[in-house]
Amino acid sequence: MRAQVGVLGLIIGLVGAVSGVVFLGLGIRFREHVHVVWGRRAVFVMLGGAVLAVIAMEWALLTHDYTIKYVAENNARATPLLFTVTGLWAALQGSILLWALILSGYITFMAVRFRKRLDDRLVQWALVVALSVAVFFFLFMIIAANPFKLVSGATPADGTGPNPLLQNHPLMAFHPPMLYLGFVGMTVPFAFAMAALITGRFGEGWLEDTRRTTLIAWGFLTVGIILGAWWSYEVLGWGGYWGWDPVENASLLPWLTATAFIHSVIVQERRGMLRVWNLSLVIATFCLTILGTFLTRSGVINSVHAFTESSIGPWLLTFLGICAGAGLALIAWRADELHAPGRIDSPISRESAFLANNLLFTGLAFIILLGTVFPLIAEALTGNQLSVGGPYFDRMTTPVGLVLLFIMAAAPALPWRAASGDVLRRRLLVPAYIGASVMLLTIVLWTRDVETVIAFGLAAFAFSAIVRETWVAVRSRRRADSTNSVLALRRTVAGNPRRYGGLVVHTGVLCIAVALAAAGSFGSKHEVQLDHGKSATVDGYHVTFKGVHSERSGQKATVSVELGIHKGGRSLGTYAPALSTYPNSATAIATPSVHTGLFEDLYLTLVSSPNQRGRVTVGVARNSMTLWIWLGGAIMAIGTAIALTPTKRRRRSPDLEPDDDVDDELAEMAESEVPA
């Protein structure tokens, strides 16, 4: 029953999407409103179908309906409730279903948001493109990756349960959905970009229409990636948060091009330039989300994450080819009309900084893409297998990252059009000195590693520049409105949320940059063998083996050891790293136990369970500044939210758009009137 309802939902979704395309197509061709209205209704039908299918799947999971193959493979009677619900996205077919649901949601959002502009050909074509993508996903599910496929033969009494790694931590509930909200969201700007090319309206209109959605999708993608890193650290137990695993890389690629896009969009808004570049960037971002899905699902490259099925590959690859091909063809067709007459006046200006930003982000994306697929290329060309792993990516991306850090520090202080030496000195000299001093401090106090020294210095430079910019603006606002600093701060931010939200996001990036640099240079890893009741001291931490605990819950057999941790005489608590075994997996899964400190984590793992004499081997690692990655991620999310708030018009000048130039001018003028 549930399987039939589910398939019905899929079919309704497909019918909705197809009829949406047909009706809107007719509306475009014959310019009759009634077709467009039906097209819009079809969108809701599609959403209904997707929701129905998801409800059917969750219903099947919650009732342990093992007639459905997907449920039998990803759920067991003993699976806890949370992981039964998250079973929806535990494996391939279910995650495509989630993708289709989220896509339907975004398209419905488009149809509602632009309901007053449904006769606008740009909106019509955008909906057609987005609905075509939906058609693909529904068709893909019905034909190649049906989540509601029935078990062949007898219905099993119990399912095999989800992959053990996927039922270890509540993060499973958040990481994939956040990531998909990000990936799928990129379909909207893609649809509008294609519509812009088709209709010939490649001015700034489509940018303005999609600005918020792109930023929201980018925000989700950022959070999704950070959550993935957190999961890797807290759950997988190998002690790191980023392994340059092909699937991790695949999620980072669209994020990089989307970040470049968010910045270069500003240049197009102000100067009308970079039209072709922006169109290409957003099309590339969308294609990269599909490529990422392909790499994850097709088994082409080995990965911790990959859940694979061999018929999936050709479908996704074909779709990728169609999207990339259509995008390139449209650009080639419109080539004559795309050139904009803008120019950049000076190499030292915010526009140039954004150009450099784009070059470097694209460069990063290229490095990571090349490194990820190079084993395939090398094998195709020479027949030999080779690997490209962490050391390559670290070596190549670190210098680019450092230059980006520098640009991020300088750019918000650079004026548009051209910077005079005076302005540069006023805005950047003191922050630069602070940065250089921090570099000196780092060498004296901590480490001589050149990359860490530069990273710390640049982070200090960037942070000082951000503080200075904000402080100057707040101070002039405070004087102008004669209020206190807090209110002035709120008004300043509300007056230009894009800029200040962006500065907050940059601050989050700084935290992450500092954490990455520190992790590379500081920290240590040790192993100690402990008998019951005995202690060992590792780098100032006193570790006592207090007890062993064995537990069977459902399918899991877990052995955990209790460790008391003391530092400097003070107790830090009891931590319990564990080893778990599942019946359908030969290897044991290590669950780490982490003491999170402000500047240092103590990362405890159980390397081997107690031997005959009751001795255990415990891994004790010190990880530097890991907390700052999660903090940085949270700050980035807050900054994105700030940037999305609507601009409050200033009381005195209701027609003025918030303009950094004017803000700065006024602030400097107010500043220069204060008696020295």
Binding site: G243, F366, F374, L386, I443
Partner: protein
């Protein structure tokens, strides 16, 4: 030099000085450090993409012990890497070798960045050569008037 120039010059000196200290060649890499560096370059064959430095499987631990012993015996980096390639194939190295096709993966990104940067520089030059628009008297006047209006508005 003007005071302003001295300020920048001082900054330059400070930065260059610090970098020089950081980059100054230090003594020999310790045995442990060298072993650790090599461990990050050898793939753990039991795992997906972890190095033997990060992995906790039996094979990884054996490899770490083996590498440490070889480093203690004074074997060179190249010899140690070759020993692993001999047994596990080229794909055991996480950092592709620069001879042969591996060179592409190192050279292409650098090439792309250089070409991109060059393109931007050329475009900037082209734009610089285009005649600049000059503001007329009327334009300047308009700007002054607006500025005055804005400051007035803010102060009341």
């Amino acid at each position: 030099m003007s005071r302003r120039a001295w300020a920048w010059f001082g900054l330059g000196v400070l930065v260059v000085g610090v970098l020089a200290v950081a980059l100054w060649p230090r003594g020999h890499e310790s045995t442990a450090a060298r072993a650790h560096r090599l461990e990050t370059e050898i793939k753990c064959v039991d795992c997906e993409s972890l190095s033997v430095a990060d992995s906790e499987t039996d094979t990884a631990r054996a490899a770490r012990a083996d590498i440490l012993e070889r480093v203690r015996h004074g074997e060179s980096d190249a010899t140690i890497r070759q020993a692993y390639v001999d047994r596990f194939g080229q794909s055991v190295l996480l950092k592709p070798a620069t001879n042969g096709i591996g060179l592409l993966v190192w050279a292409l990104p650098v090439g792309l960045l250089i070409v991109g940067a060059g393109g931007i520089v050329l475009a900037l030059r082209r734009w610089q050569r285009q005649p600049r628009m000059k503001a007329t008297e009327a334009d300047e006047e308009l700007v002054e008037r607006t500025r005055a209006e804005l400051t007035k508005g803010r102060k009341t």
